[in-house]
Symmetry: C2
Subunit: 222 residues, 2 copies
């Protein structure tokens, strides 16, 4: 059985869960507490990050980008990178935008400060980080709103990995109640379409010990 | 003419320069002072990072990972991702290792603190960052040494993008004299092989205003 090692709020793991579900590739989820640095896990993924995929053939694939590229090569039906070379450039540009820029400017300042840092007893959230995170989030929401207003899907005419990277990122922040959807109506309409996809169901059903998401989190007509 | 917007010490730009040269794709280098946030550049690359490639056909490709994936799709001769699916997984795992983990743990703490931060007048290098950077660099050198000892090239039997990602990263740190090659003899032997490649010549000829690299920097038998 295909196994995905993950943490419930990891946006990178969520992205891969969505991609696996879109490609109708069944998998078993296993929580990996990366901070325990389990020797067997380090052997599979020396960077000790989530997610790591172990495919049916036994191939171990660490890193969400390597996993998504692998899945598109190994299971090319429902290709998610784009048909033309130009589409693929735009998809990968936006995946990097969310996986790196959005994470550095928003996710690390909000999700990390509010959940992981406390869970690992590294102290309470840093006020400057939270302020920077909220300021940056507003700008990012406006950018997503602009993309959603001018294009059918974020990277263009077709649904792509860019939509799943963005939706995964936003879903983790939405879980902790940090997204103000009222400032970005086109982004909200796009996200409602994403949430309605069957691939999103499992992500919306996630519950993390001791934390309940806001009521609109799993509501498809939020 | 193909144009690559870059900064001389950007390891991401160096990686792309090496890849372009390996694929024998001629290009013109243009320095982009990203901190000026030039409107025409922001339009091409809203993340305002280097490198950005403008190919002969006019296609604009931002982000070093998107560029390298694009180049391997558009110019498949001298493929640098690997032949088998398993090879490609290992190449992409290591590219992510250097482009993200190494950057966060080493490059940001050393190269950023010592060059960019001062150039942008954001203050003098932070002692804690430097200490963390050197400690992490030692561990990373041992890992590269281990890879170089057990494999012909870093990702396995064939030269790949992993070698160029790693060599680009190390070359920027070597320019500022931060690499102690004596602790990692196998890594040093591998890096000497990389430096001897014709694609490396232009990178080794780089001079940055007011900064001279240590004598061994461009020496192929260092």
């Amino acid at each position: 059985m295909r196994i995905l090692y993950h943490l419930p709020l990891s946006p990178y793991a969520r992205k891969v869960r969505l991609v696996l579900a879109e490609k109708r590739l069944p998998f078993e989820l296993r929580v990996e507490k990366v901070w325990d640095r389990r020797p067997e896990y380090l052997e599979m993924n020396p960077a000790c990050t989530v997610p790591t995929l172990v495919d049916n053939n036994g191939l171990v694939v660490p890193d969400s980008n390597a996993i998504c590229e692998y899945l598109d090569e190994a299971y090319p039906d429902t290709g998610l990178l784009g048909r033309t070379i130009a589409d693929r450039v735009e998809t990968r540009r936006l995946v990097a935008w969310f996986d790196q820029k959005f994470v550095a400017e928003v996710t690390r300042n909000l999700l990390w400060e509010k959940t992981m840092k406390q869970a690992l007893r590294l102290g309470s959230p840093d006020g400057n980080a939270l302020r920077a995170g909220y300021t940056n989030l507003k700008q990012h929401m406006l950018y997503i709103d602009w993309l959603a207003e001018h294009r059918k899907w974020l990277a263009g005419a077709n649904l792509s990995l860019a939509d799943f990277a963005a939706a995964a990122m936003l879903s983790s922040l939405d879980f902790i109640g940090d997204i103000d959807w009222s400032v970005a109506p086109a982004a909200k309409e796009w996200y409602a379409r994403m949430k309605s996809r069957p691939s999103f169901r499992a992500v919306l059903a996630d519950r993390v010990n001791g934390m309940a998401p806001p009521p609109h989190y799993a509501d498809l007509d939020f």
